[in-house]
């Protein structure tokens, strides 16, 4: 039994300390996925909290049929999707959140820097949810297409179809950006 399986089992038995270890184990991955989907640190932090609570509420119903990380990713995706769909992502940063940041935080600079480093993914973020989620899960999180299908509750063939459509749209966006694909690859690899 792997360390993760052992942790999950202890959590299912109600051991609070095990939850602490489990959260620590999955935190980086949960936060990274939440940030990729929500594109906002405040919302991603909220999502992490919601994910932990959802794990606590539903761990006993985890049957082991799917891999734990697939189950966890499904929770993260659903929570992030709810946040996006409710259109209640914070329109302005709360004063308290900003106060909690280190001094000298420059929002504009932060966003500009992030966009420069992730030019392709900036285009991916312009796709609609239906096509963006499979791209994120498959290419960003390196999840196989059949698992992506399980997470999104669609057929595997639909995953391929949506990835294919996303590919077309990204090509058009790249062309519209004014640079050819070769130049974009050079920028990425530099």
């Amino acid at each position: 039994m792997s360390q993760l399986d052992n942790l999950v089992q202890r959590c299912q038995l109600g051991e609070l300390a095990a939850f602490s270890e489990l959260f620590h184990h999955v935190e980086a991955r949960v936060y990274r996925l939440a940030m990729t989907i929500l594109q906002n640190e405040q919302d991603a932090e909220d999502a992490v909290q919601d994910v932990y609570l959802r794990i606590f509420e539903r761990i006993k119903s985890y049957s082991g049929e799917a891999a734990f990380m697939t189950w966890l990713t499904t929770i993260v995706v659903n929570i992030c999707r709810d946040k996006l769909r409710r259109h209640k992502v914070r329109r302005a940063l709360s004063l308290d959140w900003l106060r909690n940041r280190a001094s000298g935080y420059d929002l504009v600079e932060d966003v500009a820097q992030r966009q420069q480093q992730r030019q392709l993914w900036t285009l991916v973020n312009q796709l609609d949810e239906k096509h963006r989620f499979p791209v994120i899960l498959h290419y960003h999180e390196r999840i196989p297409c059949d698992e992506v299908a399980t997470i999104l509750k669609i057929r595997t063939s639909t995953v391929y179809s949506r990835l294919n459509t996303a590919r077309h749209r990204l090509r058009v966006m790249l062309r519209d950006q004014g640079g050819n694909e070769k130049m974009t690859r050079e920028l990425i690899r530099s």
Binding site: L16, E27, Y31, A44, S94, D96, W121, H140
Partner: protein, 329 residues
């Protein structure tokens, strides 16, 4: 007109458009073997589709490369804060579960009689909580409202239709002879500090204000902030003057948190304080998008204000503006 390679490719009964539709699945080897072979043969003889496949592979590679450089970090402070909040709710949930199991076990043993006693006890406590704990005169508050908005931050949105009746603001005693006109709050007379200890209930006499001197609207905002942070400890202190009614009140605020956390901010509300009469009581009405949603009543002791009764924002799809209530004046 097709070129020679496209001509050859089409001779294999598969067109470029079909290949394009299946290109990604083909690249991953996910098609049935006959289809894989047919597409492979087509690509071998079609420059256009071969280029498309090459571009697809490049795009996939670039997406993965860019993603591999992305390592957002949750700060240790944020991580700790999140875990603390989660553990608090986990412990509360476990307490309720154990209580429920105990009650269920008790009911199984003792039967319906015990359940009836418990139900009566809980119902009595609830009625106690819902009743106004402050001995008030039955005088309707003046209709004019002093505006004291704090960081509304709301956007103008169209109203939605209303179907559910909701509680109206509870009464706050105002001396009948006092006429209060709408005016700047700062110009209202400040009541002298209450030095007569015998007028103050015992459980208030040793209180220390967590926000000394702060006006009720500022405290109301702090209460919402604490509730939305699900910070029971802060809520406990801010609602200190509610004595025996504190626990149910805090539970109500935490229910509001569960529904609304992450969707509203304290500064999404506006806070309107009613005029204070001779008796040092006032109320702060909470408005969300122009609709009244709840109130907190305050009593002034000395220079400080203390929350004495509260009606948390009404919980309905987390304030989806489904109420017909007095609009902001």
């Amino acid at each position: 007109m097709m070129n020679r390679s496209e001509q050859n490719a089409s001779n294999h009964n598969i067109k470029c458009e079909q290949v394009d539709d299946q290109l990604l699945a083909y690249a991953k080897g996910a098609l049935p073997s006959t289809e894989q072979r047919a597409i492979a043969n087509h690509i071998a003889n079609c420059d256009r589709c071969a280029l498309a496949l090459h571009e697809l592979r490049s795009l996939e590679s670039d997406l993965k490369l860019e993603a591999s450089r992305y390592h957002p970090q949750l700060s240790p402070e944020a991580s700790q804060r999140i875990q603390q909040q989660v553990y608090r709710r986990m412990r509360l949930s476990m307490v309720w579960q154990r209580l429920f199991q105990t009650v269920r076990a008790g009911a199984a043993v003792a039967g319906a009689g015990v359940m009836l006693i418990i139900a009566v006890f809980v119902g009595y406590q609830w009625l106690q909580f819902m009743a106004n704990p402050v001995d008030e005169n039955a005088i309707v508050a003046g209709s004019s409202v002093v505006e004291t908005e704090i960081e509304t931050g709301t956007e103008t949105e169209t109203e939605t239709a209303v179907s559910i009746p909701t509680p109206v603001p509870t009464d706050v005693p105002v001396a009948q002879t006092q006429e209060v006109e709408t005016q700047d709050f700062a110009s209202l007379p400040i009541l002298p500090p209450t030095n007569n200890i015998s007028n103050i209930p015992i459980y208030w006499q040793d209180l220390e204000s967590i926000t000394p001197g702060d006006m009720p609207p500022a405290i109301a905002r702090e209460v919402l902030d604490a509730a939305l942070d699900d910070d029971a400890s802060r809520l406990n202190k801010l609602l200190a003057a509610m004595s025996t009614h504190r626990e149910p009140s805090i539970r109500l605020w935490q229910l509001f948190t569960r529904r609304c956390q992450g969707t509203v901010e304290a500064f999404d509300f506006s806070y309107r304080q009613l005029p204070t009469g001779d008796f040092p009581l006032t109320a702060v009405h909470l408005y969300y998008q122009g609709n009244y949603t709840g109130e907190i009543k305050f009593r002034r002791i000395g220079d400080d204000w203390f929350a004495v009764f509260s009606h948390p924002p009404l919980i309905n799809e987390c304030l989806q503006a489904q109420f017909v209530l007095p609009r902001e004046q």
